[in-house]
């Protein structure tokens, strides 16, 4: 089931990783990997699908990718985006 939040949908991103949250007026700078993950989540990808995409496109082992992705998702949760 897709439980994607409106907050995630509303985020404004550009190709340089700049993110503006229209809900709070805050802005953020993402790394290229963070931008890739956030865009995947905006498309409705599951955590497993985002992880699979990372493993396919980045030179990273599964354990490291999973740990980094979990940390990233925790931050997104803290921001109320998920």
């Amino acid at each position: 089931m897709n439980t994607q939040s409106t907050r995630l949908d509303d985020l404004m991103l550009n190709d340089r990783g700049f993110v503006f949250d229209p809900n709070t007026g805050e802005s953020y700078q993402l790394s290229a990997t963070g931008l890739q993950c956030l865009r995947a989540l905006q498309r409705g990808a599951t955590t497993a699908a985002v992880l699979a995409e990372l493993l396919e496109t980045r030179e990273v082992d599964a354990l490291t990718a999973r740990a980094d992705l979990d940390a990233f998702l925790w931050e997104l949760n803290q921001l109320g985006w998920l």
Partner: protein, 336 residues
Amino acid sequence: MHRGDNPQPGGSIVADIRREWPDAEVVGLVYNAYESAIYAADGPQVCHTMPYPTAGLPIYLERLAEVRAATPFDWLIPTLDAEITMLAGATERLAALGIQVRLPSAGLLARCGKAKLPALAESCGVEVPETAVARDLSEAMEHAGRMGYPVFVKGAFYDASLARDAAAVAAAGGAILADWGPPLIIQEPSVGTEFNVMGIGDGDGGLLGYCAVRKLIISDKGKGNGSVVVQDPRLDEITRRVIAHTRWPGPFELEFVRDARDDGYRLIEINPRFPAWVGFPALSGANFSAAAVEWMVSGRCRELPLPEPGTFFLRHQIEVCGRMDQISGLLVQHVG
């Protein structure tokens, strides 16, 4: 009409009216010959000095009659809180002078003033910081001591200072009492981010348009020198609730803090007028000043598109040029 440091909305309102109707005859009413918008290219065609509202309604009306005799005009748009409060109860006397206004009632203004904000907020389910009203410094210090420091010390219309101890309450309160008289408002400070919502109420509980911003740059006087448009459904809903409950007629600005402790919005003030940044949405097609004029005259107004989130403004001061012969007619003080 001042647009330099600590700007007022009048200059922007005139500019936006003339942006929409370049041939509009606009008469500027000023308190000081050095109010910068007098000399702006998009400023009023003619200006007259006025006595401060503290001079009292009879003197103010007498001067308005003199101004109208010298430079006829039909509608008056007061843009400062003290003017609006004074004139709200004088619409019939203004009409007798041939001057039309469309203002919130004196009763509504009283309900929405800083001193009455907690009661209003409770009746429409909006949170406000703890607020107490003091008639003098002794009461102010008593309230501050009970709330715990720091506290904001505010005047009924203008000025706000953060006081960290009783001496600071006495100093700030004394200055406000000397300038504006009682009451003093003692308010718990909300720690968080400041948001403002500007708009026009239709007087029947609906919104004709609004623009919500988050302050990005705050001056030492607490003014937003830069803000970005936001779109938060919670803020929209609170705004609609306040405007519906008050059946607000005409321009307004709601000031909020999004409290860092619980992420909840606290309503800090309701201003019965446009803010100084009213010209910002006009730059992207939402001319609130022109819409307010249409609403005043006809009860209807143009559609005001929601400004796009992420659009921001920065206050950009420039110099305007005047000549002393322009100023000479404005240096006369009208003290009755």
